[in-house]
């Protein structure tokens, strides 16, 4: 179904994140998507190659149709329900994750560590924080119950050895620690940044680079990371965003509210 068109060299960081993340989706999946890049990426996949992909919103919506130019500013607003298949209470849409109907949880991140744990609660010590962040929302639930994709900017202050506070659990301290803590399902699967695509070692659960974006070096990724990165045996170079991908994104967000 994908139309092969030429790569485009002019795009923003958010556009790059959305394109790279969209390519991780599979037709037929049920994806629990946050606002911004996750929603854009899932919708892009839907339009280009995954027409049977279903989006869920934390606010209580199953299978919405995103109207170009009317991206919802949160998952709790009526725009999220536009021409959707079903509207349901918050607790029940989150329980779909616990019951196992969801394939992928997809969100942004403020701070991540080498085991894929996310922090959106406190910068500094939780008892005396430098910054009190907004908190988990559904993040803890989603990352406790399903396989995760996180899209975020690749910066040293965001990629730290150990997060200050585990808001959304990744692989915790690596190895079997996640399972042992009572989280036998799901886990951090992919981290998509403006530099690379990362996964996690099957045994140690340490973050490792799987692919580099066009023109990015290993050194560059390591320099922007606050801990020693592993690199997979065979690192791929991702194909740059294509014109057709960018065209869809720009149709969806014509005023670049989420892709600037």
């Amino acid at each position: 179904m994908t139309k092969h068109t030429k790569p485009s060299s002019t795009f923003t960081t958010s556009e790059l994140l959305a394109v790279m993340a969209s390519r991780l989706m599979t037709n037929g999946q049920v994806v629990f998507a946050g606002i911004g890049v996750p929603l854009l990426a899932a919708t892009l996949a839907q339009r280009l190659f995954a027409p049977q992909l279903t989006i869920l919103f934390e606010g209580g919506t199953i299978g919405p149709f995103i109207v170009p130019g009317e991206l919802p500013p949160s998952t709790n607003e009526q725009r999220c329900t536009r021409r959707s298949n079903m509207v349901l209470p918050i607790t029940d849409v989150l329980l779909l994750l616990q019951r196992g109907y969801v394939d992928i949880g997809f969100m942004g991140g403020a701070q991540i560590d080498r085991f894929g744990n996310l922090n959106s609660s406190f910068i500094g010590d939780a008892e005396n924080p430098k910054i009190r962040l907004p908190g988990t929302g559904g993040g803890n639930d989603i990352s406790s119950l399903t396989n995760m994709i996180v899209a975020m900017k690749h910066e040293k202050r965001r990629f730290v050895a150990d997060v200050d506070f585990i808001t959304s659990p990744g692989w915790l301290k690596g190895g079997g620690t996640r399972k042992d803590s009572g989280l036998p399902q799901g886990g951090m699967w992919r981290v998509v940044t403006d530099l690379a695509i990362m996964g996690f070692d099957d045994e140690t659960r340490q973050m490792k680079v799987l692919g580099l974006h066009h023109g990015v070096t290993r050194e560059q990724v390591q320099e922007n990371t606050g801990f020693e990165l592993k690199f997979d045996g065979k690192i791929e170079t991702t194909a740059p965003p294509r014109a057709d991908e960018l065209a869809v994104l720009r149709e969806l967000d014509p005023r670049a509210l989420y892709t600037a």
Partner: protein, 323 residues
């Protein structure tokens, strides 16, 4: 609240419900009268989520009535949380996410109050809060759940949850304590004078909250006849006997949204975000003076939001039905 047990005994819960007048009776009153049902120190649950179907008119009435020491719980907390802190009506908010909204960045008012330990933001996961209301609604002391394990979110509330080995499967399972708020504030599109409420669109956690609470104040865009409710009983979501007050408050969520009727008043919310970011103390105080303490009445408050803003929000709100 500090000395009360985390979960009410079943006898206490049943006794409270037994002593409520659950007969089919009219309960229509003013915002000011309804505010008298809320007592200092009460646990008050707030319906809706973020900037959607927030019962702003009752928030406004409680702040004007200078309530104190309320414990607030909500799925996700937006500007009303800022204003509860800034007005000193509450120093304790239980929620999963606390900030005006993604597009406006982290709330400086929340940061000011929590980082300076002037107030407490007690963080639970979104689903956990929902399941706590649900346990309360079902009359059970706890709900089993599978999140907050392993994370620091769970560790922060470790004294309030129990982790057990499931007696059926041997797996680790979290027991979340039931939450039965003293009172819930819920805004609906329509209800009758008895309190039979029909909610369109997104329901958030409101149904469980209404069943769990020991009192419910409904604000409503309009009061309809009981006959109208009885024509579509399968659209009723909150039964009258859970409800203690019905207040007609048109545009009762403004500047937040009410499904199918009006979207958020974005320009107004931008204005609030701007002044509260510039000065997290004086900003909200100025806002409270202008929009909360100053207006003579709810219509006067709406007039200050502006006719243009109201019509624009309404046009966008009704557009969900354009198809």
């Amino acid at each position: 609240m500090g000395i009360e047990p985390l979960v009410k005994s079943y006898s206490a819960l049943r006794h409270e419900t037994l002593t409520r007048d659950r007969g089919l009776r009219e309960k229509v009153m003013t915002l000011e009268e309804a505010a008298k049902l809320v007592h200092d120190g009460d646990h008050v649950a707030i319906g809706g989520c973020t900037v959607s179907r927030t019962p702003i008119a009752m928030v406004w009435a409680l702040i004007r009535a200078r309530k104190r020491d309320l414990v607030i719980s909500r799925s996700i907390t937006s500007t009303e949380g800022d204003l509860f802190f800034a007005s000193e009506v509450s120093k304790h908010v239980i929620t999963s996410w606390f900030t005006q909204g993604i597009v406006w960045g982290v709330s400086k008012v929340m940061r000011h109050h929590t980082e300076n330990k002037l107030a407490r933001f007690e963080e639970w996961s979104h689903m956990s809060i929902g399941l706590r209301y649900r346990a309360g609604a079902m009359g059970i002391p706890f709900m089993p759940s599978r999140t907050m394990l392993g994370s620091d979110v769970g560790k922060q509330v470790k004294d309030e949850i129990k982790v057990m080995d499931c007696p059926f499967t041997g797996e680790k399972i979290v027991l979340l304590p039931a939450l039965n708020p003293d009172i819930a504030l819920i805004h609906v599109q329509r209800c009758d004078a008895f309190g039979n409420a029909q909610l369109d669109g997104l329901q958030f956690m409101d149904i469980d909250m209404a069943m769990a609470a020991n009192k419910v104040i409904l604000t409503t865009e309009r009061i309809v006849s009981n006959d109208q409710i009885r024509r579509t009983p399968d659209r009723t979501r909150i039964p009258f006997f859970t409800v203690d007050a019905v207040v007609e408050a048109p545009f009762g969520c403004a500047p937040h949204e009410c499904y199918g009727l009006y979207e958020p008043f974005f320009t107004h919310l931008d204005h609030y975000a701007k002044i509260s970011s510039q000065d997290p103390v004086k900003g909200p105080q100025q806002y409270l003076e202008e929009f909360y303490y100053g207006p003579k009445s709810w219509p006067d408050y709406l007039a200050k939001l502006g006719m243009d803003a109201l019509l624009d929000a309404s046009r966008r709100g009704r557009s969900v039905h354009n198809d």
